[in-house]
Symmetry: C2
Subunit: 470 residues, 2 copies
Amino acid sequence: MTYENSEYETMPYAQAWQALQNSTIHYKGRPVGNLAACDPSVESLNYDQCFIRDFVSSALVFLIKGDAEIVRNFLVHTLELQIKQRQLDFLEPGRGLMPASFKVMHDGGEEYLKADFGERAIGRVTPVDSCLWWLFVLRAYIRATGDLSLAHSADFQKGIKLIMSLCLVARFDMYPTLLVPDAACMIDRRLDIDGRPLEIQALFYAALLTASELLLDSQENADIKQAIANRLHPLADHIRHHYWLDLKSLNAIYQYKGEEYGELATNEFNIYPDSIPYDELSRWLPEGGGYLAGNIGPSRLDCRFFSLGNLMAILSGLTTASQSQAIMHTIEQRWDDLIGKMPMKICFPALKDRDWKLLTGSDPKNRPWSYHNGGNWPVLIWLLAAAAIKTGKEEMAREALKLAASRLPNDDWPEYYDGKNGRLIGKEARKYQTWSIAGFLLAKELLSNPEHLNLVNFEEVPMYAIPLAS
Amino acid sequence: MTYENSEYETMPYAQAWQALQNSTIHYKGRPVGNLAACDPSVESLNYDQCFIRDFVSSALVFLIKGDAEIVRNFLVHTLELQIKQRQLDFLEPGRGLMPASFKVMHDGGEEYLKADFGERAIGRVTPVDSCLWWLFVLRAYIRATGDLSLAHSADFQKGIKLIMSLCLVARFDMYPTLLVPDAACMIDRRLDIDGRPLEIQALFYAALLTASELLLDSQENADIKQAIANRLHPLADHIRHHYWLDLKSLNAIYQYKGEEYGELATNEFNIYPDSIPYDELSRWLPEGGGYLAGNIGPSRLDCRFFSLGNLMAILSGLTTASQSQAIMHTIEQRWDDLIGKMPMKICFPALKDRDWKLLTGSDPKNRPWSYHNGGNWPVLIWLLAAAAIKTGKEEMAREALKLAASRLPNDDWPEYYDGKNGRLIGKEARKYQTWSIAGFLLAKELLSNPEHLNLVNFEEVPMYAIPLAS
């Protein structure tokens, strides 16, 4: 079904498309990415770089607009920045890791790309999500262009394999989820998302599916392909079961006894009901609603709603079809909380008072209802639109897009909004933030032609079709 | 210098030695370890198993008493339980991991050992420390017996190499410390020690030194030995610099500006002074004192004093000689807080009120000043005694041992004590807890003959003697 509305062909879309093109970075005369922001009013700090995760929405817009060259260049050059050397000394990032960002540098007449793997970032955070997003962009590029030869080239095969090896190598425990350091994804400051945050798990699942699709069948790939196949089923099963929160699971948790020892324990993670906001949740969870929790660990269940993780879980098929419906139903029923006046809230609710102090380390940028701590991020609208199309909820996404269109251009495309309902322009938000512009354009393109969903959607893999461990 | 005191040859030591021997587990007719506790008054749960970390103090007592056989059997059989298979599917623990505990099972006339890697443990926690403690016991065994041939056997060489590979494999970030899941060591329940807890780092440093000493020089070991050598210096440097808290570093942190971007940032981890209990610390830190913080991450500096990590840092030489002196000085000056009426406090201060609720997940066993959350653990006295001998503070350790002797036997050797000063027997403490008995005996043996320090001490490696990365 195509969404017909001529307003979508007019302002502010033309203005946004122009602004997106204006932010293009060139390297050796060819487009290679976009600046994170083009706000002339403040010091650039690292906003003069191209961030891998920020470029995702831009890449998708360029692909839809028929401009595949910049995406191809981005993929090729960021792959060159990937750590390739065998590394056993921990003086460098792990092999397979991709940088958070890069910048075009000039040395005399020579240009080169300088990568940042977190060694210059505030708080020295590690961009675990970069290599997962890179695979996501690669798959979209192939779907848009049909150019499988790029992914099948020796360099790309090696790069994909390195990413998978980094993610699948033996570590210390037995969960199928990825254990990552704090602030290793879009929420790149401390916000109590260390451990096994949902966002990383959803991206990881999509990355496993992508690598499984793109790695050639060969003798040398046999082990890694088997390892990928072995991981998919347990990962999906673990998330669908342990991360899922709805009234039924909340009732089960509410009845949990602690201190269960042995293989048959029902309360496997030893969650104490008193640690859960069961009173608030029992009122907040809509009938028929549900969502994936933010994190799970020993005696820990993070009940906050994280939008990127939940929406990516829908797109990647990490959730079942009925779970996906329940998540979209929750967003619809809790519109004021999760969409408010600017789609959409990065997480809900905010950490406040002592919780804020303890769990953010008193971070003033992440004060309650600001920035990552319950701020509203325009870039997320494309994920909302894509998930809405996939679940037959386009009307919701159209409403959200209207809200965004009524404010974003007038506010000069801020990075984020503050306040419980997202009515304040983010206290430290840059203007002309590229992914706010691109996310908005992308949502519009998806709603105008839902076939573009193909670029970011993963068809559900029937569980019986996922090979079990041999 | 030998500590002369005939009371050390009398009760309660004879009683303790008898109780330790009574807890011995036999496997195929030979001693192989000790039960965690022999308390007939309560259900055994998993206290009928031999825990790797619990056996450490027993092993050292047996070695000092000239009974090396049980230690050798323990080393051989736990090595057999180590995960040896290549593992890329995460359905099993990582290759190289050692179990938390094992139990002798009977199947008809056959005996076998059943290992627990955390899959039956409360909260499903991962015993990362087991493989590090195993190396510690192996080294002590060799120092006591001179039996290097055991460590040089093919099986042991392979086991050591697997442990090192597990610890040194490329992961997601660039710190030389080990990122581990929550509750991966002696504190095996949630207590906000996830990430890079000091205890694991100190054990890891000792393990690197041990492996470096025991791995044969061969072509096939060249890579792993180089990787070990490459890691030692950055790890020690990182801990000595970033984890160290004294009045000088507290003053530096107190002046920190947030939001520093770039390679030259002085506040590398973006710590906000408001997140630090600077008022309490400025009063608590004694003149000339200092200690290693519990953890570091983005916007996170855990200022609690953790005894095991600090004492093991002294023994392993992870701290400089002057830092070691400052730690012991802190313990001496804050005797009521850190020793109290039962040596010694596992960590100080306790998490209370909302902090307890948030950071333990409302764990009733870890209520303030109980169990891991500021309880007193008799087993720690052997680490205190060893560190005291190393730093010339034997008198402190003698005082502590007197305190312990006056209460432990009368209280039937509880697992832990509660209350700010440790005057209450632990609310859920087992009695006849083996490592309370063994820790007490070991402290006595160390003080009676300080030459036994050799079993657990690591001579300081001059930094210039640690090969740098090639």
